[in-house]
C-alpha cells in the first residue's frame, strides 16, 4: 500500500514536470509571437508580399514588436497585411512610418520591417494603415541584370573592334603604336626631355645654393637680414623721416620768405630790385674803404702821440702776460 502511494507520488511528479515543460514551451513560443501580451492591429498595404506568411515577425527599428496575423488580397495590385503589434510600441510608431518586406539574414525567413519616418508626425492608433515600400524582387533584379548583360555584350563587341583597329594600325592610337618613325621621334623627344630635366635640376640646385648663400653676412642681403643692422637701419630711416619733415617745414618757410621778397615786402626786395640803390651802396662802400684807410693812418698817428702812447703800451703788456700763462 505504501509502495503504491509512493508510486502515485512519483507518477504525479513525473506527469506534472512533463506537462510543465509542455506549458513552458507553449508559453515561450506564444510569447515570442506576441500571443499573451496586449496587442493591437496595424495594417500595411503592399503590392507584393514576397512569400510572407502568417506568423512572420514584425520588427520596428530592429526589435521584434509583433507578428503577421492576416494577409488579404484586396485587388490585383493591393495586398493588405494585418500585423498584431505590441500595444506599448504604438506610441513610438509615427503615422509616417514605412513598412518594408525584408528577410532575417541572408537566407532567413521573410519579415516586415517598420522603419521610422523622417520629421514630426503623430503616433499611430490601433487599426491605422501605414505606408509601405515594396521589396526589390529577385526577378526584377534578374531583369536589370539581363539589360546590364546586354550592354556588357555590346561594350565588349565594340572594344573588340577598337582593339582590332589598333592592332592593324588604324586611327591615332593605332598609328601611334605601329608608326616606327613616330616612335623614333618620340624616343628622341623623351631623350631631350631627359637632358632638359637634368639641366633644370642643376639650375635649380644652383639657385638653391645662391638663395642659401643670401643668409651669410658677407653680402648686402645677409647684412640686411641681421636684426641689429635692421634695427639701426630702422632707426636711421625714422630719423630720415623726421629730418625730411623738418626739411619740408624749412623749405616751406623759405618759399614763404622768397614769396615775400618777390612780392616787394621788406628791405631785401628793395635791395635786390632797385639798381640805383645798388650803385649808391657801391659808391658808399668805396667811400667807406677810403675812410677806413685814412682812419688807420690816423690811429697809427695816435699811437705815436704822447697822449695815447701809455694806453697802447699797457695793452701790449697785458697781451704778453696772457700768452705766458697759456
Amino acid at each position: 500500500m505504501e509502495k503504491t502511494a509512493s508510486q502515485k507520488i512519483r507518477l504525479g511528479v513525473f506527469v506534472i514536470i512533463g506537462l510543465t515543460l509542455f506549458v513552458l514551451a507553449v508559453y515561450f513560443i506564444g510569447n515570442k509571437q506576441q500571443m499573451f501580451g496586449k496587442t493591437e492591429q496595424l495594417t500595411a498595404v503592399f503590392n507584393n508580399v514576397a512569400g510572407l506568411q502568417l506568423g512572420n515577425n514584425v520588427r520596428y527599428s530592429g526589435i521584434n514588436v509583433g507578428t503577421v496575423r492576416g494577409i488579404e488580397i484586396v485587388n490585383d495590385s493591393t495586398i493588405n497585411v494585418e500585423m498584431q503589434i505590441d500595444k506599448s510600441v504604438f506610441s513610438h510608431i509615427k503615422k509616417n512610418a514605412v513598412a518594408t518586406i525584408g528577410s532575417d539574414g541572408l537566407v532567413g525567413s521573410v519579415i516586415i520591417n517598420i522603419i521610422p519616418g523622417k520629421g514630426i508626425a503623430a503616433p499611430v492608433v490601433p487599426g491605422d494603415f501605414i505606408r509601405s515600400n515594396n521589396r526589390v524582387r529577385t526577378d526584377d533584379m534578374l531583369n536589370t541584370l539581363n539589360v546590364t548583360n546586354q550592354n556588357a555584350a555590346r561594350l565588349t563587341a565594340d572594344l573588340l573592334k577598337i582593339t582590332n583597329d589598333i592592332h592593324h594600325g588604324k586611327g591615332t592610337i593605332g598609328l601611334l603604336l605601329r608608326d616606327s618613325v613616330m616612335a623614333k621621334d618620340l624616343k628622341e623627344t623623351i631623350h631631350n626631355l631627359k637632358i632638359t630635366s637634368q639641366k633644370t635640376s642643376q639650375t635649380m640646385d644652383n639657385l638653391n645654393r645662391q638663395i642659401a648663400g643670401l643668409d651669410n653676412k658677407d653680402n648686402v642681403i645677409g647684412v640686411l637680414k641681421d636684426t641689429v643692422v635692421g634695427n639701426k637701419i630702422r632707426h636711421v630711416v625714422t630719423n630720415l623721416d623726421s629730418s625730411s619733415q623738418e626739411i619740408t617745414k624749412v623749405v616751406a618757410n623759405l618759399n614763404a620768405t622768397i614769396t615775400n621778397i618777390k612780392e616787394g615786402k621788406g628791405a631785401l626786395n628793395y635791395l635786390s630790385n632797385d639798381p640805383k640803390l645798388v650803385k649808391q651802396i657801391d659808391s658808399t662802400m668805396t667811400n667807406i674803404n677810403q675812410a677806413s684807410k685814412k682812419l688807420n693812418e690816423n690811429l697809427e698817428a695816435l699811437k705815436s702821440n704822447f697822449l695815447f702812447r701809455g694806453y697802447f703800451k699797457k695793452q701790449e703788456k697785458a697781451k704778453k702776460k696772457a700768452a705766458a700763462k697759456q
Binding site: 503504491t4 502515485k8 514551451a25
Partner: protein
C-alpha cells in the same frame, strides 16, 4: 508454383493479422468507455511505463542532443552558420528526432515488455483464468496498458526534447561560448506552434501504436513459451515499422495544414 503459394500464404496471414488488429482496436475503443474503469491498474501501468522509462529516455535524449550538435558543428562552421545551430537543433529535435527516438526506445522497452508479459500470461492460462473468474482481462490488461502508453509517451517526449536541447546547449556553451540564455532565446525564437502542436499529437499516436501492437501480440500469443519470445520480438519489430508509417502520415497531414 511453390513460391506463389508462399506469397499467397504470407498475404493471407498479413490480411488476417490486419483484420484481427482492427477488431482488437475496435474492441479497445468499445471497452474504453464501458465501466468499470480500472484506474489503479492504469496508474500502475503509467508509473511502470512513464517513470521507469524516464532515465533511459533522458540519457538517450541528452546524448542525441550532444552528438547531433557535435556532428553538425564542423559543417555549419564551414559555412559560417554556427549561429543557426539553436534553430536547426531545436526544430529537428522538436519536430522529428525527439519523438521518433523516444518512441523507438519505448517500443523496445515498453512494447517488448507488454508483449512478453501478456504472452506469458496467455501461455500460463492466467488470462483464461481471469475470464473464468468473471474479470474482463481485456479491460484490465489491454485497455489500461494502451491508455498508459498513449498518455505517457507524449510526456516522455517532452522530457526527451528538453534534455536533448539542453545537451545541445551545453555543447554550444563549451565549444562556442554561447550562453544558455542566448541559446534558449534563439531556440524559442525559431520555434512556432506549427512545430510543437502537430508533433505532440503525433506522439499520442506513437504511444497508442506501441501499446496496441504490444498488447495484441502478447494477448494473442500462441505456441507455448517459444511464442512469448516471438510475441515480444514481433511486438518491437511491428511497432517500429508502424511508428515510421504513422510518422510519415503525420508529416504528410501536417504539411497539408501548415504548408
Amino acid at each position: 508454383m511453390e513460391n506463389n503459394s508462399k506469397v499467397a500464404t504470407s498475404l493471407q496471414t498479413f490480411l488476417i493479422e490486419t483484420g484481427e488488429l482492427s477488431y482488437f482496436t475496435a474492441r479497445f475503443f468499445k471497452e474504453l468507455f464501458n465501466p468499470p474503469f480500472e484506474l489503479k491498474e492504469f496508474l500502475r501501468q503509467c508509473y511502470n511505463m512513464g517513470n521507469r522509462s524516464l532515465l533511459l529516455v533522458s540519457v538517450t535524449g541528452f546524448i542525441i542532443g550532444l552528438v547531433f550538435t557535435l556532428q553538425s558543428r564542423p559543417t555549419l562552421e564551414e559555412f559560417g552558420a554556427v549561429s543557426w545551430m539553436p534553430s536547426m537543433v531545436s526544430i529537428s529535435i522538436i519536430r522529428e528526432i525527439g519523438p521518433i527516438i523516444t518512441a523507438l526506445i519505448c517500443a523496445g522497452r515498453i512494447g517488448s515488455g507488454i508483449g512478453a508479459e501478456l504472452g506469458s500470461m496467455r501461455v500460463t492460462e492466467q488470462i483464461d483464468a481471469m475470464e473464468v473468474s468473471g474479470t474482463n482481462p481485456y479491460k484490465y490488461l489491454v485497455v489500461t496498458r494502451i491508455l498508459a502508453t498513449t498518455v505517457m509517451l507524449p510526456i516522455l517526449v517532452f522530457f526527451g526534447d528538453a534534455i536533448a536541447i539542453f545537451g545541445s546547449a551545453m555543447v554550444e556553451n563549451i565549444k562556442g561560448n554561447v550562453s544558455f540564455l542566448l541559446y534558449f532565446n534563439q531556440v524559442f525564437d525559431s520555434l512556432q506552434f506549427s512545430d510543437l502542436i502537430p508533433t505532440t499529437f503525433k506522439t499520442f499516436f506513437f504511444g497508442f501504436a506501441i501499446g496496441l501492437v504490444g498488447c495484441y501480440k502478447g494477448y494473442n500469443c500462441k505456441k507455448g513459451t517459444a511464442g512469448v519470445g516471438l510475441a515480444a520480438n514481433s511486438a518491437v519489430v511491428y511497432t517500429s515499422m508502424l511508428l515510421f508509417i504513422i510518422d510519415f502520415i503525420a508529416v504528410f497531414v501536417t504539411n497539408i495544414f501548415y504548408g
